[in-house]
């Protein structure tokens, strides 16, 4: 499954026997199911994968270095382009980190708005997962249904933030503006539709026998391995470890809303899929509580024009749709950070892929890779 290679290369590459041991093939970087520009160098024995070496960095742009050259608050829009499926989570991550570094308090209403946006974002992100996972397994219609509902979420987010994908709507010290008029009702209306649509997805995909036979028992990640590799998010929760930053170290107002952390024990592709489906339901629960409890008040703390946090090291961690997203910043007291480090959940989750793939069949590669749900933008940074 190499990428189509250039003519001059082809003549040397071809006629390698498929049956022979240790055949090396390349998946990507342009391949329909690598979810971006990931390249996997597979060593095969027949259909069995002996060894897999992911090659990343095709989107590397040295963002962490670029951030060192800019004032703190100018770096927020760049985080949109990290995990572009969950731009708001990244916004929140870096803002929290800067707030901790500078000791900035966030008004309560802003915290509620943040949680609301975060959960809407989670739904949008998981819908992309659902859609692309469906296409990987051949259910093209699922992709279009998932994107159809995602558009509804995007409409909401667009109305609130003014952008479809790269929102930049969380600022140091709050959010830039209050929710628009009648936003709550619209969200509730969406929630109502979305509940029905989730049923439809179950009917179309989750219960489908073919789908289950493609996912159950495939790509099992044991709990110990998941821990030792530091995986997070749905990947670790599907391996039976109830690790969710929203519960383990609650931020914003996550300690005031009720929700369950879905956990599955099997650790296979199926479990990871189920965890994400369940998370969307939990997000709906959170959204409803937030809309019920949201207090009135200001949404932003005034900050000095030139923001100079004291020297020190701070880190923040939040639960992005893909797992534990953590920003770490070192300040030397100047307007620009000395060092920004982004602990991207996909980066860590992807590093477990080689050990997941060892011994599996090539045909299961797409299912396993799809179930990890990586975003290359944040892996390569």
């Amino acid at each position: 499954m190499s990428m189509p290679v250039s003519p001059e290369k082809q003549s040397t590459l071809s006629t390698v026997d498929i049956l022979s041991q240790g055949m090396v093939i390349n998946v990507g970087p342009q391949h329909p199911s690598t979810h971006g520009v990931l390249r996997l160098i597979l060593t095969l024995d027949g259909e069995q994968i002996l060894h897999c070496e992911p090659v990343i960095g095709y989107l590397h742009r040295g963002l962490e270095k670029m951030m060192e050259r800019r004032p703190y608050r100018h770096n927020v829009p760049f985080t949109d382009r990290l995990d572009y499926l969950a731009a708001l989570s990244n916004n929140l991550g870096i803002c929290q980190c800067i707030e901790r570094l500078g000791g900035v308090e966030v008004p309560e209403r802003a915290q509620y708005i943040r949680v609301l946006l975060m959960e809407l974002q989670r739904i949008a992100s998981h819908l992309v997962f659902l859609g692309t996972f469906g296409t990987d397994l051949g259910a093209t219609t699922m992709f279009l249904y998932a994107f159809r509902e995602r558009e509804l979420v995007l409409d909401l987010l667009e109305e609130c933030t003014g952008a479809r994908l790269t929102y930049n709507w969380i600022r140091v010290g709050g959010v830039p503006d209050d929710l628009p008029e009648g936003f709550g009702e619209k969200v509730l209306g969406f929630v109502k539709t979305f509940r029905q649509r989730l049923e439809e997805y179950d009917q179309l995909l989750t219960r489908n026998r073919i789908f289950r036979s493609r996912t159950q028992g495939i790509g099992i990640l044991p709990k110990e391995l998941a821990l030792a590799y530091g995986t997070s998010g749905p990947v670790i929760r599907a391996s039976g470890m109830a690790y969710d930053v929203r519960k383990a170290a609650p931020y914003e107002v996550y300690d005031r809303v009720e929700f369950d952390v879905p956990v599955h024990e099997q650790g296979d592709v199926w479990a990871r899929y189920l965890v994400r489906m369940e998370e969307m339901r939990q997000s709906i629960r959170i959204i409803e509580q937030v809309l019920r409890d949201i207090p009135d008040g200001p949404v932003q703390t005034k900050l000095p024009k030139v923001f100079k946090p004291p020297a020190g090291i701070a880190y923040s961690r939040i639960e992005s749709p893909r797992g534990e997203l953590s920003f770490m910043m070192v300040s030397d007291g100047s307007p620009n950070p000395l060092r920004v480090h982004i602990r991207a959940p996909s980066f860590v989750n992807l590093s477990v892929l080689p050990s997941l793939l060892e011994g599996t069949k090539v045909a299961d590669l797409v299912a396993i890779l799809g179930s990890i749900d990586v975003v290359l933008g944040e892996i390569d940074r």
């Binding site: 960095g57 590397h60 030792a228 530091g230 880190y315 953590s326 060092r339 602990r343 980066f347 590093s351």
Partner: protein, 159 residues
Amino acid sequence: MNEALQHLLKQLGEAVSEWTQVGANEVRLTVSPEHWREVVQFLHDDALWQMDYPADLTVWDTGTGFGVYLRLWSSVHNHNVIVLTSISREQPRIASLATLYPGLNWHEREMYDMYGVIFEGHPNLKRILLPDDWEGFPFRKDYVAEPSGDPLHGPQPVD
């Protein structure tokens, strides 16, 4: 947490040069680079700590040397530990933790890629994000890129 911290200080007092407790379940330790592996091994193995989750590892350029930052979490006790150390610019070497925590493998490779910090004992220390033939370590503060003039190869011009 307190009990565990006392235990740690008792066992490895000379290795930990500085420690602060932040909040109920977070502690920051500053250790000397020679004891890096030893301290982390202790945190990993000790029954009171059991730091089994490698959360994050990074390096930063302080101008005079490199700071190393390691964050661990314990799924058993819900402890958070941040271990800090600093290494010299001339000899950017430190013990690798990749065999202890396989999850740190890629982090260490990335830090080698960006800062040229050599993690001794790492099983596969080579470039991860940049092209294999890249010259220099671009995250160092003194790195100056010479644009190669070729869009398919080497550093690109900036404006």
